[in-house]
Amino acid sequence: MLIKRRDFLKAGSLATASLFVPQFLKAVEGRNTIASKGKALVVLQLSGGNDGLNTVIPVRNDIYYKERKRIAVPRETSLALGTEAGLHPVLTALKNAYDQGEMAVLNSVGYPNPDRSHFRSMDIWHSASAANEYWQTGWIGRYLDAQCTGRPLAAIEIDDTLSFALKGEQRKGLALQDPKRLYDSAHSQYFADYSAAYQQTESEAPVAYLYKTMAETLSSADYLYEQSRRKPASSAYPSTGLGKQLKTIASLILADTDTSVYYVSLGSFDTHINQEGQQKRLFQEMNDALAAFIKDMKANGKWNDVLLTTFSEFGRRVSQNASGGTDHGTANNMIFLGGALREKGLLNPLPDLADLDEGDLKYRIDFRQVYATLLQGWLDADAEKVLGRKFDLLRFV
């Protein structure tokens, strides 16, 4: 009996092996013919603490120019967002989006009792806990736990390892740098046979969880590789890290992969020394990649189904430091891009530089309000369940 199965498997490829893949995975593999009606949220993490004040620049604010004599962006070179604000000169794709009504900026986003350590503040942003709580799951992971049963591809991170934000209790996102790489590492006859020979159960036991993760990964690796080749992203993307990552995201969106959240990071924005060069270089990479992505989404009629958001673990101090950089700060802005924004432009006033907390911006919007808005308004999720608390929703989504 066992030998028969063995012989059968030996003859086949992974596709044959998938005959033994349990029902909940069959659903994934059969899905490539059904167009997903879902909306996609793309989270772009600007790691290291992007300097928001040199991103969306308060061009009429004397305090800004006084505190940043060396690194302030002059009004003349910034890209005007109305009369009070300007974008960093490199961010032309964002300026275009702004002009088309496809960009929104939320200023002064943060949380009470801010922490200035990268790892702790990132931990807070990833888990969506309060500053005095320690949670062991991420906000996107809890969204998967709450809403995404039977959808192993609901959240994908474009990287080799998975961020805390995408780790739930029972479910986790899938991390891949690109579909080919995942396919190459997972596509082994040994793994396929071994995984297929296991009788899946709906048990909570660790061994069942391990086998389920293995089976889902192998199955997803094949499926995503096929998906990524069905409709290659159509416009030319820069061959930078983020360029390739957004190209991968685009190809999966265009193939109607059943994915609600894509996650990608760019960094490091930890600009203590000679900020200008480093931020400019990273912004150039970000801008060129976003320009290609937006163009691609528009050309394929997907831009109304995509919402991209940026965040950092914190903003930076208002005053420059002595090394032509800035040190760790607190509240920061978040930028949203998409074809279906309900409110556009500057959603709230620029930060008040005359009302600081020991040299740092005071937060006006709790970042968990933003998460709640994205979860409820864009992903149709139960935000209260995911965040463990009720937050007032914002209106831009």
Partner: protein
């Protein structure tokens, strides 16, 4: 699965980092009632102080010297930078040194318990001197008295700095330290009020440290007035608060629960066992070894539902491989990348609550990497994983070239010696019994198809690699 063997492996895996092939036969020759006494004996010696500054590595002495100099004058920017970089390098060496100790030492019980406390007293601090001091306090007291351990950790420069107690002054109390001592080190949430935290913080004012890491009580910053904490009133200082917290049975239950989850079962936790363990721990005045002994000597320690169901942490997984398959790594630094990629780096816990454990270790990428590692070792393969940047460490700089080759000289002799007397047909099942702590979940012949049976030596080697590249091997 053979009962005695499974029980021995259970003890070695839970109270250590798994069997070491070179000493396996010696263990198996012992009667069952001699196992635990031997474990205790093996850990009875005082741990060696990992003084990276005293090690042969050149230039490390300088790092400590500079910290000493800071007492006399301020360091300039360049010196601070050099100190930071030196500290960062040394911290890597401390990490590797400890990993080596876990792999090779007989004192498995002590080093396993030290890892438990390393997660319990989670602290991030880039200063090598403070980190090596804290690690030593933990290793010295790992099996001793929790009172001494708690007091030692609370007065360490690493913890005081990490929880900002040097900023906790009479005029401007900082509650961080007092809160974490209650929430994470002793009683846990729900057994104290915000008012208790505020009052305890006042008692801890003045607790600080010198630049060489010595504890110092700064009387000038201390609030000498009366405080009321957990129903008691007095002109308390920090030591008094620690005593008050240890008077609470909740502290014993909190530690007993955490130990049960770590050593026995992280999901099925019968309350009466926690109460029993906690009460005895409390009545022994917090003898840690006594708590472990109560666990190991209970009939439920070896109950089927408590065996082979724990997902190994990355450190347990990797050290376990090195113990079962002796090897010399060409570049030990690759183990830093490995820890990072598998999401458990010593000295870099995710937050002050330590590593979550259990299913949190496993996602698609970490599992696939674990399944590939055994083959990478024999192939001297490329650990082709991009790990995420760490801005706290890198200060915005790009990562230097990392070691990626998982290149090692595997010493197969102990393994071959152990298994080459077996008949060919028994090899795979005997190895499975040795390597796994759970019954096979799929027929072993599926796996046997992928072994090389041209000769016995290759058969043993390939079977071992395949058996380690399975979900079963992730469990202990």
């Amino acid at each position: 699965m053979e009962k005695k063997m499974q029980k021995l492996k259970h003890l070695l895996w839970r109270m250590g980092y798994g069997p070491r092939t070179q000493s396996w036969n010696k263990w198996m020759a012992l009667p069952e009632n001699a196992w635990w006494p031997k474990m205790k004996d093996d850990s009875a010696t005082e741990p060696e102080y990992f003084d990276i500054a005293d090690s042969a590595v050149k230039g490390l002495l300088m790092g400590i010297g500079e910290i000493g100099r800071m007492e006399r004058r301020e360091l300039d920017q360049a010196e601070k930078k050099r100190l930071r970089e030196q500290s960062r390098d040394d911290l890597r060496n401390l990490n590797l040194l400890w990993l080596e100790e876990m792999t090779r030492t007989q004192a498995q019980l002590r080093e396993k318990m030290a890892l438990f406390w390393h997660g319990h007293f989670a602290s991030r601090n880039i200063n090598i001197l403070y980190q090596q001091q804290l690690l030593h306090i933990i290793r010295q007291n790992a099996l001793g008295n929790f009172r001494d351990l708690l007091r030692g950790v609370s007065k360490s420069a690493a913890m005081i700095a990490f929880l900002n107690n040097q900023q906790n002054k009479k005029q401007h109390p900082n509650e961080n330290f007092a809160r974490e001592v209650m929430e994470l080190f002793t009683m846990g949430r729900g057994h104290y009020t915000e008012h208790d935290v505020k009052e305890a913080a006042r008692a801890f004012t003045g607790w600080s440290f010198k630049l060489n890491g010595d504890f110092v009580f700064r009387a000038f910053d201390h609030d000498k007035d009366e405080k009321t904490v957990l129903g008691k009133s007095g002109k308390f200082d920090g030591d008094d608060i620690i005593d008050i917290l240890l008077e609470k049975r909740e502290t014993a239950y909190f530690i007993a629960r955490k130990a049960y989850k770590f050593f026995v079962n992280d999901t099925l936790i019968p309350e009466e066992r926690i109460k029993w363990l906690g009460d005895r721990f409390y009545d022994s005045d917090y003898k840690i070894l006594r708590l472990l002994e109560d666990i190991v000597r209970s009939d439920w320690f070896y109950a089927p539902e408590n065996m082979g169901n724990r997902i190994k942490s990355p450190i347990e997984y990797w050290v376990g491989i090195r113990r079962v398959l002796p090897m010399e790594l060409d570049a030990p630094e690759v183990q830093l990348k490995l820890q990072h990629a598998l999401d458990q780096t010593l000295f870099f816990p995710p937050n002050v609550a330590g590593w979550p454990g259990g299913k949190a270790w496993i996602d698609s990428s970490s599992l696939m990497l674990r399944l590939r590692i055994p083959q990478l070792i024999v192939d001297k393969g490329d650990l082709d994983v991009e790990t995420k940047d760490d801005d706290d460490q890198q200060m915005g700089m790009r990562k230097a070239n990392q070691r990626r080759l998982l290149s090692a000289d595997v010493d197969w002799q102990p393994v071959l010696k152990q298994f080459s007397t077996l008949k060919e047909d028994n090899i795979i099942s005997a190895l499975a019994e040795y390597l796994w702590q759970t019954d096979s979940k799929v027929p072993l012949n599926v796996l046997e198809e992928y072994t090389d049976r041209h000769n016995k030596e290759n058969h043993i080697k390939t079977a071992m690699i395949r058996l380690m590249a399975t979900p079963e091997y992730q469990l202990c």
